[in-house]
């Protein structure tokens, strides 16, 4: 019922970091599953990794890393009260995030084309370890992709808020927290890249 405005940017940031902890543990469960399965099927994981397009994986990594940089630049711009610049950087981030998703969808489409998806007749003929590899591949990159979409939605709202001056030089905690979330998406991808694309 408290009508007074209680503002605690440090608390908001702390809350966001705690939320990121839960995200890391969420993916942590999958990383545990991955480690166990890889220990069980080292050869099959090697074969599975060879099926993936490492070049596209690396390009996507560069795309995401750059987008993390532009988010930081947007925050710096807002701190300096340069609204236009902040909007340009945020827009660039959104474009890069979309690029990531487009490249990712091409990769997925290629896998579907080769019959390398769960329950596919072709995948069923491969050794069990490779089936698990692709099960994990789709689960982990899929969950990550979902996080990219959530992150992009958040950043779109931020762009709107910057445009309408709800985010200003003296009040940018929401942008900062969305940036933190975007970095998390980036960090998780940095782990997914070697685990899948460089497993061969």
């Amino acid at each position: 019922m408290s009508e007074h405005v209680h503002r605690d940017d440090f608390g908001a940031r702390l809350g966001m970091w705690l939320f990121l902890v839960t995200e890391i543990v969420l993916f942590g469960g999958l990383f545990i599953g991955y480690s166990y399965m890889r220990y069980k099927y080292p050869v099959e994981f090697h074969h599975g990794g060879a099926e993936l397009n490492a070049t596209l994986g690396v390009i996507n990594t560069l795309v995401l890393l750059t987008s993390s940089l532009t988010v930081v630049l947007a925050i710096v711009a807002i701190q300096r009260a340069e609204k236009k610049q902040a909007m340009v950087f945020l827009g660039t981030t959104l474009a890069l995030g979309l690029t990531f998703l487009v490249i990712k969808s091409f990769e997925w489409a290629a896998k579907f084309h080769h019959g390398l998806y769960p329950n596919a007749p072709h995948l069923g003929t491969l050794p069990p370890g490779e089936q698990v590899f692709f099960g994990l591949y789709f689960t982990m990159t899929g969950l990550h992709g979902l996080h990219v979409i959530v992150g992009l939605s958040l950043l779109s709202v931020m762009l709107w808020w910057v445009a309408t001056d709800r985010i200003r030089a003296d009040r940018y905690i929401h942008l900062e927290n969305s940036g933190l979330y975007w970095h998390l998406v980036d960090v998780i991808w940095i782990f997914l890249l070697p685990l899948f694309y460089l497993a061969a």
Partner: protein, 545 residues
């Protein structure tokens, strides 16, 4: 009963009580949109007690089925659905969120001298997540292929193959997990950021320490459950193969991931219960708590060690003997911080000037029942005994002693302790004492009966039983009747008090923590001015000022 006049500075008189609608919305709508932590706590209270009674009803029905050795009343498949739903409702909708969501929400900000939690809107959103998850879980009973029949643990590979509505139930549990995590984030931030001036870490009431350690477990363990449940859903819809042996997956991985969350969840259930007991005992012993820091650190120790014992649920599932040995050892280690608390409570009572009141009766009952539950838990930690009693009624008896005798009775004790503060009404103490007798007798007939049945070899989750188990089953079923009678009398008394009870004093028990310095029911912003804290939480007058 002595009344401690509380003419402290900052005593609010101007604000209306939190029960009064002052906004533009009135009635139910005002409650459903209020971000006041006290109202959110009360919303949780009413919803949880409703779910609790659904769970009680199902348990009661299962006991009726066991009244005869052969099949009667219901089919075997319905019985499977009943124990699954009983478990899901009781664990996910009552025992796990019970104390933190109700009393944590209502009292954490008051106990540390704050006006609200750190993120009030997120707090209300958590309640909506809770209700959404609960409704999905309940819907799963009536839609799709029928109620889930896997047991509350959703073990693979059966949960992947059964035609019943596992996906929806699992998705409900996933949403409930969200509610739990967000509440954890909220409480940790609240404790870090909103303590009143002078409220140092070691001046916080111990309930806050308990909630703090609970929140960390909620934060660190719940996401593992979330991802495990997501995997079950993906497995059911897309066949990703991680838990499916036919595709190279491993059902044991499911069990590990499930218990990595679900064992720490046991401490989510018990730590705030212990916290509430730690508030009650000093108030009625009229002296400071014995070993404040030992209790505070034992909460953190339980949270830490408790996260490393999960595989003791899986001693017979197939693990290396080294692994079983380590998990057995760690299981016994976790009993140490729990025992520290029990000794501290008893030491606090020693030479106290005990004022015997209903909350203390239920707190002592908690200690008694929890001790039985805890010790039978240590028994199961021993590998040789575990093999004998695995998946028997002994396990069922044990965890009902811990969860119902422990968390449940602590919930009742906390409710009795804080009811006058929350509602502004006082209940009939005689009626509460009268309801305690059938509850206590019935509880022990029912669950000690189960311990004995388990030792004799009665397996859990069977809808019929062999003749040699019959006598104890009858004892247990009759016990369940007393228990339900007691529960009805207990809640009947409280509901009657809500409407017809006498007005409660501001400090009916002579407590000294901050909630007793404000009116009953509390005003909307809790404090007129935020208090400044100059001493520890349990500062009774006979001790030096």
């Amino acid at each position: 009963m002595t009344t401690h006049a509380t003419a402290q500075p900052g005593y609010p008189t101007a604000q209306p009580s939190y029960l009064v609608d002052t906004g533009s919305r009135k009635g139910l709508l005002a409650w459903l949109t209020s971000t006041d932590h006290k109202r959110v706590g009360v919303l949780y209270l009413y919803s949880m007690i409703s779910f609790f009674f659904v769970g009680v009803g199902i348990g009661f029905l299962m006991r009726l089925v066991q009244l005869t050795p052969f099949q009667h009343l219901i089919t075997a498949r319905t019985y499977n659905a009943l124990f699954t739903v009983h478990g899901v409702i009781m664990i996910f909708l009552f025992v796990i969120p019970g104390l933190p969501a109700v009393f944590g929400n209502f009292f954490l900000p008051i106990l540390i001298g704050a006006k609200d939690v750190a993120f009030p809107r997120l707090n209300l959103a958590s309640w909506y997540f809770f209700m959404a998850g609960a409704i999905l879980a309940v819907l799963s009973l009536f839609t799709g292929g029928g109620a889930p029949d896997t047991g509350w643990t959703f073990y693979a590979p059966f949960s992947l193959k059964t035609g019943t509505n596992v996906s929806l139930a699992v998705f409900g549990a996933f949403i409930l997990g969200f509610s739990s995590m967000l509440t954890g984030i909220n409480f940790i931030t609240t404790i870090h950021r909103l303590r009143a001036p002078g409220m140092k870490w070691f001046r916080m009431p111990l309930m806050c320490w308990a909630l703090y350690s609970t929140s960390w477990i909620q934060l660190l363990a719940t996401p593992i459950l979330a991802i495990t449940l997501v995997l079950v859903i993906l497995e059911r819809f897309f066949g990703i193969g991680i838990f499916d042996p036919a595709k190279g997956g491993d059902p044991l991985l499911y069990q590990h991931l499930f218990w990595i969350y679900s064992h720490p969840a046991v401490y989510i259930m018990i730590l705030p219960a212990m916290g509430a007991i730690t508030e009650i005992i000093p108030t009625f012993a009229k002296r400071t708590i014995f070993g404040y820091k030992a209790i505070a650190f034992s909460s953190m120790a339980i949270a830490g060690v408790g996260s490393l014992v999960w595989a003791h649920h899986m001693f017979t599932s197939g693990m290396s003997s080294l692994a079983t040995l380590l998990f057995s050892l760690l299981t016994m280690v976790v009993a140490v911080p729990s025992a520290i608390k029990v000794f501290n409570w008893v030491s606090t009572l020693y030479k106290g000037s005990i004022d015997f009141q209903p909350p203390l009766l239920f707190a002592l009952t908690f200690i008694f029942l929890f001790a039985i539950g805890g010790l039978t838990g240590v028994m199961q930690g021993a590998l040789a005994i575990n093999v004998h009693i695995h998946d028997t009624y002994f396990i069922v008896g044990h965890f009902h002693y811990v969860m119902f005798g422990g968390t449940g009775f602590a919930f009742f004790a906390a409710l009795l302790y804080w009811f006058p503060k929350m509602s502004g009404k006082m209940y009939s103490k005689k009626a509460i004492y009268a309801s305690w007798f059938p509850m206590f007798i019935g509880f022990n007939m029912l669950y000690f009966g189960m311990l004995i049945l388990g030792m004799m070899g009665m397996p859990r989750r069977y809808y019929v039983h062999l003749p040699q188990f019959h006598t104890m089953h009858v004892v247990a079923t009759v016990g369940s009747w007393f228990l339900v009678l007691g529960l009805l009398a207990f809640f009947g008394t409280l509901i009657y008090a809500l409407f017809k009870g006498s007005k409660a004093e501001d400090n009916p028990w002579g407590g000294v923590t901050l909630e007793w310095t404000i009116p009953s029911p509390p005003p909307q912003e809790n404090f007129e001015t935020i208090p400044t804290i100059t001493h520890g939480p349990y500062h009774f007058e006979q001790e030096s000022q």
